[in-house]
């Protein structure tokens, strides 16, 4: 990860924070302290250490508190510019303008906000804008629900964004810092959504361990972008940032296609950086040799852990695969980790079962996948229900 701005390591920014290498936030070089705080509060702490140029906010439950706390960072001087936009479609366009102008950008949204903003996300990736979107997922109307539901992640899968799903506040903090580093690599340079389950992570307090606020990420260097920065500091080539699809001829169709293929290739190239920063793999495996494997992401993982504890007490042979990166999808890791399992259970907090579909389309012998259990619209997923559903499935499969 060579970088011109690396020469800044050890120097101080205007707030007196020392620029540090990403590795040093997590390898013990930078002193850490423990706190008891919510996911919203941890967003403020992560942004404070991320040398963010601009953040644009808009209220929608459950991300409003985090978005407002980032505003406090602007008043304190840790974020250079901040304002409230008029709605999520505009906010994500304002973020695009800020990123095109060369700033590191942070924003947040939830559920209906994600969908209102939707047209912007493929534009972000098409424009190769490494914007950080913290997604605090919630249900999507109708009927109205403000409660946790991961369906919007499934709707973002083909937008060309990187998508990581954090299980808890600690991981949210880590993913925001690491996410910027991966998203801004010149051979990646794509937007990234770091998702958490709304309320379950945003509004509950947990113990977290975070590096000293006296340190921050290296600043974004817009001139490492693979496309020109829109600041008239480089020669004004007569090519717009968008592919020129306005003419009806084969070369324009090909321009669009090759541009889109390049975005997909950039997602693939992100793997090497993400693996390194996520401890070697895009997944975590516990008891991987077990007959039954629960495989999912987000807080469904936490509930699965509890279910596994209950099942182990009953003498069942059960393990866990936790998926941390959804785009890129950990294809090889998942294939390998699930190769020996006889039953693969995919608990999800949404009604569509997009994660089960992802897994089914990745592995061999995919009839081993049990789609569900599902809860939606904010329902919790009690571990007892997971166990009960698995037992039912096992009985069913024995019968047939």
């Amino acid at each position: 990860m060579s970088d011109n701005s690396k020469s800044l390591i050890g120097t101080k920014n205007k707030m007196g924070q020392t620029y540090a290498d990403i590795e040093d936030f997590f390898n013990g070089k930078i002193p850490k302290e423990q706190f008891f705080m919510t996911g919203s509060e941890i967003v403020k702490e992560a942004v404070k250490r991320s040398s963010v140029g601009m953040s644009i906010s808009y209220p929608i439950t459950p991300q409003s508190e985090a978005a407002a706390l980032v505003g406090e960072l602007w008043v304190e001087g840790y974020v250079d510019a901040y304002f409230r936009g008029e709605h999520e479609f505009a906010v994500m366009s304002e973020c695009a303008g800020a990123s095109l102008g060369g700033c590191r950008v942070f924003t947040t949204t939830s559920g209906p906000g994600t969908l209102r903003a939707y047209e912007n996300f493929p534009m972000w990736s098409g424009g190769r804008l490494p914007i950080m979107l913290c997604l605090m997922v919630r249900g999507i109307n109708s009927p109205l629900s403000i409660q946790p539901d991961t369906i919007e992640i499934g709707m973002l899968l083909d937008t060309g964004m990187l998508i990581w799903h954090a299980e808890d506040a600690q991981e949210l903090f880590d993913f925001i810092l690491k996410g910027y580093v991966v998203a801004e690599q010149p051979d990646v340079h794509l937007p990234i959504a770091v998702a958490i389950d709304g309320f379950f992570v945003s509004h509950t307090k947990e113990m977290v361990e975070i590096p000293s606020p006296d340190y921050c990420l290296l600043p974004y260097d817009p001139y490492r972008s693979p496309v020109p920065v829109m600041d008239m500091e480089t020669a004004p080539m007569r090519v717009m940032r968008d592919p020129f699809v306005m003419k009806s001829n084969y070369i324009s169709y090909m321009t669009h296609t090759s541009w889109q293929l390049e975005i997909r290739a950039a997602i693939e190239r992100s793997r090497k950086y993400t693996r390194k920063l996520m401890g070697g793999s895009l997944i975590d495996v516990e008891d991987g040799d077990a007959e039954i494997i629960l495989c999912t992401s987000g807080t469904a993982v936490s509930q699965s852990r509890e279910a596994i504890r209950l099942m182990k007490a009953k003498g069942m042979d059960v393990g866990l695969v936790k998926i941390k990166s959804i785009r890129p999808f950990p294809t090889e890791e998942v294939k390998k980790a699930l190769d020996k399992a006889k039953l693969i259970v995919v608990p999800e907090l949404n009604i569509s079962g997009w994660m089960a579909k992802e897994i089914k389309s990745t592995i061999d012998r995919n009839s081993r996948v049990m789609v569900g259990p599902h809860v939606a619209g904010g329902m919790t997923m009690p571990p007892e229900i997971i166990v009960e559903e698995i037992e039912k499935e096992i009985a069913l499969r024995k019968e047939s």
Partner: protein
């Protein structure tokens, strides 16, 4: 940007395209008091366009590009439509992202440039059609004015969705029969200049592209006001000859008709007192420079 940046490596000079060589040798980056009179005597910032022959939009676009006070430090934001056929060919950085979000893009962009270049002038200019400005993008147009975002919004008003084939737009005249208005448009042409005043624009102008000198002055005023004081808005009538069924040489007459007294594009200019004082000062300075140039010419 230093104008030095538009230079060629001598080693590559023989393989650079002629249009780029012309741009380096004969463009007007950095020239004080640029204007429409440079057309024909210098390399234009528009290389080519694929608009219809005689299209007033192509005329307006060239006048605007020749009137930018600081093209070497200007970033333009467009939207989807006929203008997006021209933007890829202009020699200033320009952004096309989505349809209707141009004032939101410009808000983020202008603030980013202020953060990154606090001691440098960086003008941001939005140029979009009436559908993008008034219909699909009206909320973002108005909100950027409410927030006092310091950039200029220019609307090419052809009273249609022209690029998609002549559908009704909010700036279309009442009772005009167009696509999607088969019984004639049922409501009045939206009075965006008045909305601009009410929404906090400090300089507003409504005109046609029939008079290049006037367009030059209005564009320069609007950009200088946005740079120093606050948002500005310019509405330019650029009739779509194709959709109106006119010939290529009819456009000028169409515009002259539309700018007559009490017609919808009668020249209108709104300035706050602060703006009047500021623009008078700029005009005086400009006059001084002009006289100095005249004197120097005489002396030579």
């Amino acid at each position: 940007m230093s104008t030095n940046i538009v230079r060629m490596s001598e080693a590559l000079a023989d393989v650079m395209p002629q249009e780029y060589k012309d741009l380096v040798a004969h463009s007007t980056y950095g020239k004080v008091d640029r204007g429409w009179r440079d057309l024909g005597e210098s390399k234009e910032l528009i290389e080519q366009h694929s608009l219809c022959a005689g299209c007033p939009e192509s005329l307006g676009f060239r006048y605007i590009m020749s009137s930018l006070p600081n093209p070497e430090d200007t970033v333009m934001v467009g939207s989807t439509g006929c203008t997006s056929l021209v933007f890829p060919h202009i020699a200033v950085h320009n952004i096309h992202s989505l349809f209707g979000n141009q004032n939101a893009i410009a808000s983020g962009l202008k603030r980013a440039l202020e953060v990154r270049f606090p001691d440098q002038v960086k003008d941001v200019v939005v140029l979009a059609g009436d559908g993008a400005t008034v219909d699909i993008g009206i909320d973002m147009t108005l909100q950027s004015w409410f927030r006092q975002e310091k950039f200029t919004t220019i609307c090419f008003d052809n009273e249609f969705y022209a690029n998609t084939g002549g559908q009704e737009s909010g700036l279309m005249q009442k009772q005009f029969v167009g696509k999607m208005a088969p019984a004639g448009k049922q409501f009045d042409k939206v009075n965006l200049p008045q909305l601009a005043i009410d929404s906090g624009c400090h300089y507003v102008a409504n005109l046609t592209t029939s008079k290049p000198m006037r367009v030059e002055k209005v564009i320069r005023n609007a950009i200088m006001v946005a740079r120093e004081i606050g948002p500005s808005y310019v509405q330019l009538y650029t009739p779509c000859i194709l959709e109106l069924g006119l010939q290529s040489n009819d456009a000028l007459d169409e515009m002259k008709g539309a700018e007559k007294k009490n017609e919808r594009f009668e020249f209108f200019e709104y300035k706050t007192d602060e703006v009047t004082e500021y623009l008078d000062k700029l005009d005086a300075e400009r006059k001084e420079r002009k006289e100095a140039r005249k004197a120097a010419k005489k002396g030579a």
